[in-house]
Symmetry: C4
Subunit: 275 residues, 4 copies
């Protein structure tokens, strides 16, 4: 962020001014902008939800349309402002948030050309992802990054675990298809696999449940398995989070101790004052 800011040419003072409001939150106007943005994202999400409830939509249909216009126009203006104000325009447009910002606008403008269908919904919902923009404002970036990094570092192990789990569910599902034959909910193998996943993940809707004693016996084994192997992803992520300092750069330069808490001012191993 700091660096981007420095790249802004000094010739256009208003661009620099606008940049500060839009991309940073260290001024009063910048904070106000962030709050308005957050409110509109929130409002937009609520409207999309409420439109799907016939009773409410009937009552407030025109209000919703007007609000949608206002929000969309604001987002459009904001999107242009972001492009104009930033130096490396290409970088912004093809960044994660640049694409989200763009996709959030598309359904509104497409609705003039094509008839509105419920499939527009999901694009409008993507606006919610813009909430993460606000993290800078709230100093939550580090903690969010901590979680994402732990998940990313353990992702390969978790994929393998899920592969095990899926193959296990497919085999157990097929077994149950043989055991429970054509009974309700076990008519086909995919249905039986659906049941196996519902069971092993301990969700247990109960829309499908074993009927024969043999089926119940298998279900008991599957449930105990699911209850035990939840330990695997938990263990993986916990082990990953375990030794990670959130600030990776701090090491004691006297004894080399790397296990330094965020709030430490002295090394707990050798007592040296930390820089």
């Amino acid at each position: 962020m700091e660096r981007e800011h420095n790249l802004i040419p000094a010739d256009t003072l208003w661009k620099s001014f606008l940049y500060r409001i839009i991309y940073r939150s260290d001024t009063r106007l910048g904070k106000l902008f962030d709050i308005i943005l957050l409110s509109l994202i929130f409002l937009s999400t609520i409207i999309i939800m409420m439109e799907s409830v016939p009773k409410i939509d009937k009552k407030f249909h025109y209000t919703f349309i007007v609000l949608e216009w206002i929000i969309s126009l604001f987002f459009t203006a904001e999107y242009w402002a972001r492009i104009i104000v930033v130096k490396n325009k290409k970088n912004y447009i093809f960044s994660f948030f640049g694409i989200i910002d763009f996709l959030a606008l598309v359904p509104f403008y497409l609705s003039f050309i094509f008839p509105v269908t419920k499939y527009f919904l999901i694009f409008r919902m993507l606006r919610m992802l813009r909430i993460f923009r606000i993290f800078n404002l709230l100093d939550f970036m580090n903690d969010g990054y901590f979680i994402v990094r732990a998940l990313k570092n353990s992702s390969r192990k978790i994929y393998i675990f899920l592969l095990f789990l899926v193959i296990f569910s497919v085999i157990v599902g097929s077994l149950m298809f043989m055991v429970e034959g054509g009974r309700t909910g076990f008519e086909t193998i995919p249905q039986s696999i659906y049941w196996a996943v519902v069971t092993v993940t301990t969700v247990g809707y109960g829309d499908v449940s074993p009927i024969t004693p043999m089926g119940k016996f298998f279900a008991i084994i599957l449930m105990l398995a699911g209850y035990s192997i939840i330990a695997v992803p938990t263990g993986i992520v916990t082990a990953e989070m375990r030794n990670k300092r959130q600030n990776l750069e701090i090491v004691c330069d006297r004894c080399g101790n790397e296990d330094i808490d965020d709030d430490a001012r002295y090394c707990k191993q050798c007592g040296k004052k930390l820089a």
Copy 2:
């Protein structure tokens, strides 16, 4: 506690005496007081529950009213005693337990002015929180504090995780609304989000469950996701609890730092060698 005690003026001996009974449990009368208090809180909770069961309420209606009177008068007397006896009255009144003690009395007295409605219930239920008063008596304070501190220290990470989870559920819920159309339980987006949360948290009531093959396929992915990412809050809290001394008595005697890891040889705050 110790300090508060010292602040009591020596001129009123009976205040000092009462203080010891009410606020401490190192005398026989003090212990008796604690036990009576605990019993009345427990009794009060049972009465509130039983009053809601028509069959039982019909039978014991007058007993309940009488008991409620006795308990409320005792609590009132106790509240006044606490205020009179303590030196810094304002501190007590606006402390967490002071407010709870007050709110627990309000519904009883309001019921003379306004007609009793079921909304009084929740205030009466707040009395249960007074149970935590009793922790001093049972030496459970340290362990309770250990849990609260671990949750507090990891609260920011857990909030972010919940934010991820909510946004994820909203998007998945919207997707399911598109997939399962107007089928039972997926009539509106909020309903579909309700289903998504029921599924991702592995609760799985089964009051709403996917019907179409496509819906079941999405449900499988969502269940596997929920089963895996439960590792995140678990990992966060475990990592937080991991290095914390469970014996809270070890404190740096130079700077008073209480956050000392099990393997620390020097205080990380002031660099003092630990005993």
Copy 3:
């Protein structure tokens, strides 16, 4: 065990011989005895289960009665043998397993005096606990003890957590009673509390589920809470298990390192050969 053995008087050789068979499994007869015992416990449990299934009971009623007689007589003989053979009889009789052994016999003999009721069942089921006797045989003692110790050490923290959870469920249940009024499953506060526990523990039977939008909103919050705070008991137990060596006596006598794996022959911190 070793010690008990030494206490046996040398004067009665057959007692010493029987002691070895019953209490130890280092002889062929001793192993055979353990296997017979284990089989009978298992058989006994199966019979109790099958007796409760009318269709099966009708068919095998007399077989079950005969088997029950044989098993009970064997257990009686074994119980007397254990008492006769052991030196410190009182110690055995009032030990955990001594009491279990006795209670497992009681229902059989009571059934001659009193009419058999289904309440005898639970005592007969206690026989299952005798399975843990067999652990000596299988070298599982250490691992079982590891789990029990971890649970015992963290039991106070877990009790407090459960107290939090129960109070939380009672308050949420009362709130839901107010929100969902007299709707099915929320007719009384105890019923609403039942629902709250079903939800917060992520069991989610679905026999009771929220109906009103407001109720569903509360349920969402409760589910997210339950999904997150499962981290607390997990974190407590994991932290407890974390630093425990299974063999507590081994410490490096050069550097004092206590974190020594079961299979270590050299200290991983200073390289010293371990005794």
Copy 4:
């Protein structure tokens, strides 16, 4: 793998060439072979699933039969090629994957002799296990091995935990049989045990749920227990994963010990200083 490769006799160049394609993936043909194999395994699984859906099977019955022929012939050819090409044939045939490869072929050839029944299914489904062959290709071996080793190392503790859990469920199930008498879902002890397992593992289908207040009270206790003791397997596996190097390449170069903790400075097996 490396070693096996060296054992191939130089006299038959085409065997060496084929070996490289089949067993390794460092050539373009080798990679192509792996991809074709993976696709066929995947296709085969999909066909088995789809055959169980009457509507789809009716439409594509002959396509499925033809595809099954092609896949089976390819797998047969591959199986022979593997045997011919490898030097130590016996080793391959009786290895885990050798047996899986063989079992995956059996149902196809048996179907010429015996009438096809749904019990052939499960053998055909075993083909899915061949997917793990592909791990070499994707460098997932290490991570998969990490999970398997953690589970293997903690398996004894987990078995004991499951034994506890099963005995606990049997006793609780019997208690509920007494409490809920002959009510729906609690007609027999095995049924009540099924309910107990469904509850304690937090699956909660809801096909059986307590009806009487007493039953609900027991259920509450069981749910709280299940919610808390899930911490046990989680703690066991996490503790196991905790100190294990995730980078398996670090090995003691004196004694070949691979089980080296992250904080180790000396090999715990031979005492050599680690690099």
